[in-house]
């Protein structure tokens, strides 16, 4: 029997797992995918929001502001990419400048600091030289930031595992029952396990999990957002995260640098019926790009390197549902749509605190709070590179040309706790295959390395688990 079962290995589930790992408790994470960060946590804007957008007195506002403040230390402790690049909300119409003031006031009510409004295109261009001539004013939010969401999730998971949390993959929870104060959680592969506390962090599926247990039903709509990712060569086009002030033209899209120096534009918003529908459409990709061009007109389609989409977990009530439900010991962390990523550190600490007091858990004596990420060859100085190759010659073998990723890094990503098991897993952890050739050259090489490290055949190597095998057999 476990003390706690967490359902879902996204940033929320992994974050909670890590914070609970501080205590003497038996904790397991059940994830239906082949890896952590395979749901919404891998496909979003990666913005650590300032906190001016959420309505005052909502959970979104509360956790956003407190979560935002935790990122500097957390990213250092767990060694994941984060940068406080600042956000700007752009206004393209003199008549709507009031809208900026409204956001400013909301920010103040939420406790956001250091914001200011600037007017005049020339002033804007001093901060962002490539912004449109048509932008007339902006709200500047210095505490806005950017984070690599999947690397953050992986970092949380690794650190949780190092501190004793168990991760079980390909484990889709299909039933939960409660007898004599003990939950039995059953997965579709027949696995079942008991626990004193169950935490629902199942993303867009959190309603389904909740409805297995609680009388108070939840309903989550999956709202899809499509994105277009641009080559690093146009990384200079934006330094702040550039939002558009919502107008009669609609919500607008953002243009932002990523922590790795690409430019990301999007997202669109379309409600979809199927919670696994991350199908991008030509219309939406076009919409994302066209709207983004309003902010930065010099974005060029030929610099697009890939596209993807993610699903927002939108609850009918429009705010998060966080905490113990009416069923004792069953905790919901549901409806975690944007700014969920920004909130994750605060939510994780909060839930861990509540659960530990519920179960009267004691703190561990030897909690290891620090995690060291995979050494990134491309970011090192030549002297550091020399040293690294000297220690391990695999760092002298460059596998992914575009992102300059070495075999040493790939092997590390597989051997680590909660290590990569498929091409996408390697990609999220090392960036191999994320560059401009999008894994054209390195796919066969990475497959060989995965097969060798996991002791399987090339034919068993998948892109993202399940039936996503890359090759189907041997040639004649």
């Amino acid at each position: 029997m476990k003390d706690v079962i967490i359902i879902g290995g996204g940033v929320i589930g992994c974050g909670i797992a890590r914070e609970l790992a501080r205590y003497q408790a038996d904790v397991a994470v059940l994830e239906k995918g082949n890896d952590v960060s395979v749901g919404t946590s891998k496909a979003n804007s990666g913005i650590v929001h300032g906190g001016f957008d959420a309505k005052p007195n909502t959970l979104k506002a509360k956790y956003n502001v407190s979560g935002n403040a935790m990122f500097d230390e957390l990213s250092r402790e767990l060694d994941f990419p984060f940068r406080r690049n600042g956000s700007m909300v752009l206004c393209f119409d003199e008549a709507q400048i009031d809208g900026l003031q409204e956001l400013y006031d909301r920010g103040i009510a939420n406790g956001v600091r250091d914001m200011y409004i600037i007017r005049g295109n020339a002033e804007l261009k001093k901060l962002e030289p490539y912004v449109s001539d048509k932008a007339v004013a902006a709200l500047v939010v210095p505490n806005g930031g950017i984070v690599s969401p999947y690397e953050m999730t992986v970092a949380y998971a690794e650190n949780a595992a190092v501190n004793g949390v168990e991760f079980r993959f390909l484990s889709e929870v299909s039933a939960i029952s409660k007898d004599n104060g003990v939950f039995t959680v059953t997965c579709s592969d027949g696995y079942s396990e008991q626990a004193r506390v169950v935490i629902n962090a199942a993303g867009v599926y959190a309603d389904i999990i909740n409805n297995m247990v609680c009388e108070d039903k939840l309903h989550i709509t999956a709202r899809k957002g499509d994105y277009v990712l641009m080559d690093k060569t146009c990384g200079y086009l934006a330094d702040h995260t550039l939002f558009q002030l919502p107008s009669k033209m609609g919500k607008g899209v953002l243009v932002t640098p990523t922590t790795h120096g690409n430019i990301l534009v999007g997202p669109t918003a379309t409600d979809v019926d199927d919670k696994s529908d991350v199908n991008t459409t030509a219309e939406e990709l076009n919409e994302a790009f066209t709207k983004a061009s309003i902010t930065v007109p010099s974005l060029a389609r030929r610099n697009i390197i890939t596209q993807f989409s993610g699903l927002r977990a939108h609850l009918d009530t429009d705010d998060f549902v966080i905490g113990e439900s009416t069923v004792e010991g069953f905790y919901n962390v549901a409806g975690i749509e944007s700014p969920g990523l920004s909130c994750a550190p605060a939510i994780a600490c909060d839930i861990a605190a509540r659960v530990s007091s519920k179960l009267q858990l004691k703190e561990k004596l030897h909690f290891q709070a620090k995690r060291k990420g995979i050494p990134q060859f491309s970011k090192l100085s030549n002297t550091e590179r020399e040293k690294l190759i000297d220690q391990n010659p695999l760092y002298g073998k460059i596998v992914c040309r575009c992102e300059v990723v070495t075999e040493g890094e790939i092997v590390d990503s597989i051997r680590r706790p909660v290590g990569a098991k498929d091409l996408d897993g390697v990609k999220r952890r090392t960036r191999a295959g994320m560059g401009r050739c999008q894994a054209g050259f390195c796919t066969p090489r990475i497959m060989e390395i995965i097969a060798r490290e996991l002791g399987c055949d090339m034919q068993d190597v998948t892109k993202l688990g399940g039936k996503s095998n890359v090759v189907i057999g041997r040639t004649k």
């Binding site: 596209q307 894994a439 996503s468 189907i472």
Partner: protein
């Protein structure tokens, strides 16, 4: 820091030919750096016939063609390093490479030849919407999996793009027992060689749909099919013509991009049309002593032309090391009337008048045209062609006398004269 006169980045056909000819021109201090475990470049995975008709007057496979040049390099005792990836070339010709064996090494060169080849355009570059599971490959990746690693990427195949690699893979996959449902081409013509369309598609009854494209990819974990549609004159898909083709594999053969990351680091000026460097007739870039040849300069369809071009680069690099100073005054060659690009891109306004070959491509299919070179508006060269197409590179061989006229002119133009 080690010192070497001539560093050649890339040990494919371009790098090998350049090394050989630089040696024969008297240069002995040469280092070839190749990131793969073998010399030969992309040819190693091209196990089909069709290489070397121009150079050796016989049909060789890719590896056979490569081995002839490798033999020449070995015979001359030219130094090369394998598994050695160049990660930087600086403006002053410091070349940095890494390898498991040597660690990180910096080499100060007098001249550098970039011969790093090209890579394939990926799915993202053409922005096909849909799902992102397994089963979408660039044709070259599939070729490597089949020919080198011995694995079959899929059974029911659709190929987007009628570039040569796509055509060749259509035949290869068929030989391996897969079923190629169709080759889908956006343009109303193929960018591949005509002989490949005949030998790789027609002979196997594989349909080729011109003016069509793939608009969506279905299948969450693995490709389950693609939606194709006809396109209009502006190359936009026509909704009503959409149809679904079930398949488990989509191969992309949608163009090659010269691999010029190193050139950018070295501050080499690139041409937006070719994606390769802007070079003069010596194949020298705007950075003195840095040369380019082969597919990194512009995409060739035949390796024979790569070899010929690269031999020229090798000789010129040797000359440069021997103190031949480059001319600073240049004439930019303008390409007009359907000529997409020409290599060289600029001419030195010096007094060296040697026979010179120009390589060019057209932007569209044209019938009954004359390829013409004009000096100050006056035709110095003309050649009638019944048909020209973007898929076939055209060679223009100019005499020393013709080169003299061009070099003395204020303007040089390469153009198509249409009509009878």
């Amino acid at each position: 820091m080690i010192k070497v006169n001539l560093v050649i980045v890339g040990g494919g056909p371009a790098g090998l030919a350049a090394a050989k000819s630089a040696y024969d021109a008297g240069e002995r201090d040469i280092l070839i750096l190749e990131r793969e475990a073998e010399l030969g470049g992309i040819l190693n995975q091209c196990i089909h016939n069709g290489f070397g008709l121009h150079t050796f007057k016989e049909e060789l496979t890719g590896p056979e063609y490569a081995s002839r040049y490798i033999d020449e390099v070995v015979k001359r005792g030219i130094t090369y390093k394998l598994n050695a990836t160049v990660i930087d070339v600086s403006n002053n010709k410091t070349v940095t490479y890494v390898s498991a064996q040597d660690g990180l090494v910096q080499v100060q060169a007098k001249a550098v030849i970039l011969a790093c080849g090209c890579r394939e355009r990926p799915r993202g570059a053409i922005n096909i919407a849909g799902m992102r599971g397994a089963g979408v490959f660039s044709a070259g990746t599939a070729q490597k999996l089949v020919n080198i690693d011995g694995y079959l990427p899929g059974k029911e195949v659709v190929i987007l793009g009628s570039g040569d690699i796509g055509l060749i893979m259509a035949r290869r996959m068929t030989f391996e027992g897969a079923h190629v449902q169709a080759v889908v081409e956006l343009m109303p013509f193929s960018s591949g060689l005509n002989r490949n369309i005949v030998q790789c598609l027609n002979d196997f009854d594989i349909p080729l749909y011109f003016s069509h494209t793939v608009v969506n990819i279905k299948g969450r974990e693995r490709v389950e099919g693609v939606v194709i549609a006809q396109v209009d004159d502006r190359l936009q898909p026509i909704k009503e013509t959409e149809r679904f083709i079930p398949c488990d594999t989509l191969l992309l053969s949608v163009g090659l991009l010269p691999e010029n990351e190193l050139a950018k680091n070295a501050e080499v000026q690139l041409s937006p049309t070719t994606g390769g460097a802007v070079v003069d007739e010596n194949l020298m870039t705007n950075v003195e002593g840095v040369f380019e040849c082969g597919n990194v300069l512009h995409v060739h369809d035949l390796v024979d032309f790569v070899s010929a071009e690269s031999e020229n680069a090798g000789v010129r690099a040797a000359d440069y090391i021997n103190g031949v100073t480059p001319c600073r005054e240049k004439t930019v060659i303008s390409c007009t009337n359907g000529v997409r690009y020409c290599v060289p891109t600029v001419l030195n306004r010096d007094e060296v008048y040697a026979p010179q070959s120009f390589k060019m491509r057209v932007a569209n299919v044209f019938k009954k045209v004359e390829l013409a070179v004009l000096a100050d508006g006056v035709k110095v060269y003309g050649r009638k062609r019944p048909v020209v197409a973007p898929g076939e590179m055209e060679n223009i061989n100019l005499t020393a006398e013709q080169m003299k006229m061009l070099k003395q002119a204020k303007s040089v133009e390469i153009t198509l004269i249409k009509g009878e």
